[in-house]
């Protein structure tokens, strides 16, 4: 469903992403892990159309995304849950969800909200609460729900465990797992550590210094030392 070929992202003289290639097939969940500064978020932002690429290609559902805008990519069904959640803090939970459905042509009303929050019961009673007053875990849930509001076919989750307690990481992992198993959502899950990714992904790519340096299947992920070795390759 998603194919990235030789992607390069530069910030001035600094090359953040160097010739990254990866594929994610439909209904699969692929993990992408790596240390700080590896280029994971830059890859995510480039695929979502939020930053420019220097070279390389991104193909989604057989269609080259080329210079398609971020709005166009959301319209095409490719959505990013960004690092740090990036909610609308002054807007209510309900308005955050409505904003997530911005590119839908049909009306997004209360019944849609109910359906959307099926996997996020903690948000049911907080619809009128400003998003900025939610806890970290609730904000992550809202960020996921907001992404789902646009009826995406592919989600990129950038560091969904960031800043969360182990209990909340478990809950987020459960939600991601249900999105994959019950909704058939295709996802690229990006994280620094292997903990959450190991639970949801069928295979994991390791990124370091702007390059993909290794790949492991879910079974192989049990060997933590092998993964860590790839970080420092």
């Amino acid at each position: 469903m998603l194919e990235i070929r030789d992607l390069q992202v530069r910030y001035g003289a600094v090359t953040a992403v160097q010739a990254v290639s990866l594929e994610v097939t439909a209904e699969d969940v692929v993990g992408l892990i790596g240390p700080n500064g590896a280029g994971k978020s830059s890859t995510a932002l480039a695929v979502a159309g939020l930053i420019r690429t220097s070279s390389g290609s991104v193909t989604f559902d057989g269609r080259s995304l080329g210079s398609l805008s971020a709005a166009g990519r959301v319209q095409a069904g490719l959505v990013l849950v960004p690092q740090g959640r990036q909610l609308f803090p002054s807007l209510s939970v309900a308005d955050n969800l409505r904003a997530g459905a911005w590119r839908l042509h049909q009306r997004f009303d209360r019944s849609d909200v109910g359906e959307l929050l099926r996997d996020f019961p903690a948000l049911h009673d907080r619809l009128e609460q400003p998003a900025g007053t939610l806890s970290g875990g609730e904000q992550q849930m809202l960020a996921l729900a907001r992404a789902l509001a646009s009826h995406p076919r592919f989600m990129i989750l950038d560091e969904p465990s960031m800043g969360l307690s182990p209990i909340m990481v478990d809950r987020v992992a459960d939600v991601i797992g249900r999105l994959a198993s019950e909704r058939g959502m295709t996802m690229l899950v990006i994280d620094q550590g292997i903990g959450l990714v190991r639970r949801v992904a069928s295979r994991v790519l390791v990124m370091a210094q702007g390059r993909i340096v290794g790949e492991q299947t879910a079974r192989e992920l049990a060997d933590q030392s092998a993964v860590e070795a790839m970080y420092f390759r």
Partner: protein, 292 residues
């Protein structure tokens, strides 16, 4: 009783201040700077209105509708061709651009029209309404009603429409807006359109009260700026309350013999300083202000 008359009379001016203050808040939320050209743009569009009324012979209400549309178009053009290209420049540059627009529109008004004062057709004509010993002109009632309708319409747009949601979202977190597929430039252009349209309406109301001249918005902009500072630079509700409050306070100060008209403006600026020292975000401002 004279004081009460002054206060009632001042509410009409307060409605104009509130409209212009609201326009300043919307542009501030969109571009992060105060639009110092708001008054001159409104003056220009009011001269256009005068042309439609006096030379073309259109009726007041049709002219109002046309001026709203024309003003909105002016706002969109300003945003797309001047403000949008400058958004990534330092804030100082954007501020200077608004001063440039001030000079441009002031120059246009003075070039195409005789800048000296002239009367401006009223929406209604008739004797004032008397309540007890208070006289209220019909024009000021209509002006007040127009201002209230515009503000209610704006509230409805922001609260109940997709455009309003998009504007609130974009001004709350621009990056997140792009993430969900909103195009920020469209929201900012819409904000400028709404702001200049409101300024156009305010200009017509003010011309109706004071007569049309190239300098009519000078003091209004100062009062509107005071209103947004007191109300909160990012708070539309604060702008409305601030506008009305300023008008009433100015009327009260002017009516007090030991203060009078000359000291009223400086005293209001003292109030501004006090508000800035005690509550810099304004009475209704907050770090991340919700819209209405």
């Amino acid at each position: 009783m004279l004081l009460l008359q002054d206060v009632v009379s001042a509410l009409g001016a307060g409605a104009v201040y509130a409209l212009v203050a609201l326009a300043l808040v919307i542009v501030f939320r969109a571009t992060g700077v105060v639009n110092f050209a708001a008054g001159e743009i409104a003056t220009f569009t009011t001269f256009v209105a005068w042309e439609l009324l006096a030379d073309v012979g259109l009726g007041f209400w049709l002219t109002l509708v046309i001026v709203v549309g024309f003003s909105a178009l002016v706002g969109v053009v300003i945003y797309l061709f001047i403000m949008h290209p400058a958004l990534k420049k330092p804030e100082f540059v954007i501020v200077m651009l608004t001063f440039g627009l001030f000079e441009l529109f002031n120059g246009l008004s003075n070039t195409f029209w005789d800048p000296s004062p002239r009367s401006f057709p009223a929406p209604v004509e008739g004797p004032p309404i008397v309540i007890g010993s208070i006289f209220i002109t019909q024009e000021s009632i209509v002006d007040g009603a127009i201002a209230i309708l515009i503000m209610l319409l704006l509230m409805a747009i922001f609260r109940y429409t997709k455009l309003g949601l998009g504007f609130r979202a974009t001004t709350d977190n621009r990056f997140a807006a792009e993430v969900v597929g909103i195009r920020p430039w469209q929201m900012y252009a819409a904000g400028w359109a709404m702001a200049t349209a409101m300024g156009g309406v305010g200009g017509m109301m003010l011309a109706n009260m004071l007569g049309l001249s190239a300098s009519m918005m000078g003091n209004v902009l100062v009062f509107a700026l005071v209103a947004v500072i007191i109300g909160g630079l990012e708070s539309p509700l604060g702008a409305v309350v601030g506008g009305l409050l300023i008008a009433v306070v100015a009327a009260v100060f002017s009516s007090l013999s030991f203060i009078g008209t000359d000291l009223a403006t400086p005293l209001m600026l003292v109030i501004v300083i006090i508000v800035l020292l005690v509550r810099p975000s304004g009475l209704f401002g907050q770090r991340k202000a919700g819209l209405l």
